[in-house]
């Protein structure tokens, strides 16, 4: 079993990174900045799901991580297409 201190420290670091990228998501000067921050948040949530799978010992959480990575990729592609077509932007 992994030391709970290590698990909690990893949770802390990943939550801090989600928090920092949420700050960039909130105040990012342009819409592509926000999309980049959203993508980083999705990647970090995939990592948190992996740590949670280790923590609880339930391996089925990894399926959710796969689906979340796929959704984040599709969201990034969709936002990029939307930007290139020249949709309404609120910078």
């Amino acid at each position: 079993m992994i030391n709970p201190l290590v698990i909690n420290l990893v949770y802390l670091l990943l939550s801090l990174s989600v928090l920092l990228s949420f700050i960039r998501l909130a105040k990012g000067p342009s819409l592509p900045d926000r999309v980049v921050a959203l993508e980083l948040i999705a990647t970090m949530v995939v990592a948190i799901i992996g740590v949670h799978a280790i923590d609880t010992g339930v391996a089925s959480f990894l399926d959710i991580a796969i689906v979340l990575a796929l959704t984040a990729f599709l969201a990034a592609i969709g936002f990029a297409r939307f930007l290139e077509r020249g949709g309404p932007r609120d910078d």
């Binding site: 079993m1 992994i2 030391n3 290590v6 698990i7 420290l9 990893v10 670091l13 990943l14 801090l16 990174s17 989600v18 928090l19 920092l20 990228s21 700050i23 960039r24 342009s30 819409l31 592509p32 900045d33 999309v35 980049v36 921050a37 993508e39 980083l40 990647t43 970090m44 995939v46 990592a47 992996g50 740590v51 799978a53 280790i54 391996a59 990894l62 399926d63 991580a65 796969i66 990575a69 796929l70 984040a72 990729f73 990034a76 592609i77 936002f79 990029a80 297409r81 930007l83 290139e84 932007r89």
Partner: protein
């Protein structure tokens, strides 16, 4: 023993994730922010998934974690490329200290046309910066 290895992988992956977040909040520019977040975030998640593989030690879990690693390693550069392209076309301002912007010479923001630099090779005499040897070869 395996717990120590898993702990090392988890801690280094989480540190890389934190590094990506610090980069995304500290760097001055869209492209530099993307440079920080994409590579470091993908590597951090991949290391955490390696930790998951080592912690479970089952073939099914190993395959799933490997699938996640491959998926992130494939999609992260593609998404970064697409967002950077869209951001440049939208007209996101670059950092003041940017030294070279090679796309600026060949991209026309009015007509949304990106020249490759090889136009006029077939229709004769359009470009005059073709060197002599290439002319003689034709």
């Amino acid at each position: 023993m395996i717990e120590i290895l898993v702990s090392i992988f988890l801690l280094s992956g989480a540190s890389l994730g934190l590094l990506a977040a610090i980069g995304i909040i500290r760097l001055p520019d869209l492209l530099t922010r993307m440079h920080a977040s994409t590579k470091s975030g993908a590597l951090g998640t991949a290391m955490i998934m390696v930790g998951v593989m080592l912690a479970f030690m089952e073939p099914v879990v190993t395959f799933r974690a490997f699938a996640i690693i491959m998926f992130i390693m494939i999609t992260s550069p593609v998404a970064a490329h697409v967002i950077a392209r869209a951001g440049y076309f939208v007209g996101v301002s670059l950092w003041d200290g940017t030294v070279k912007d090679m796309l600026k010479e060949s991209y026309d923001p009015e007509s949304h046309y990106l020249r490759s630099g090889f136009e006029g090779m077939d229709d004769d005499g359009e470009t005059d910066d073709m060197d002599e040897s290439e002319d003689q070869a034709r």
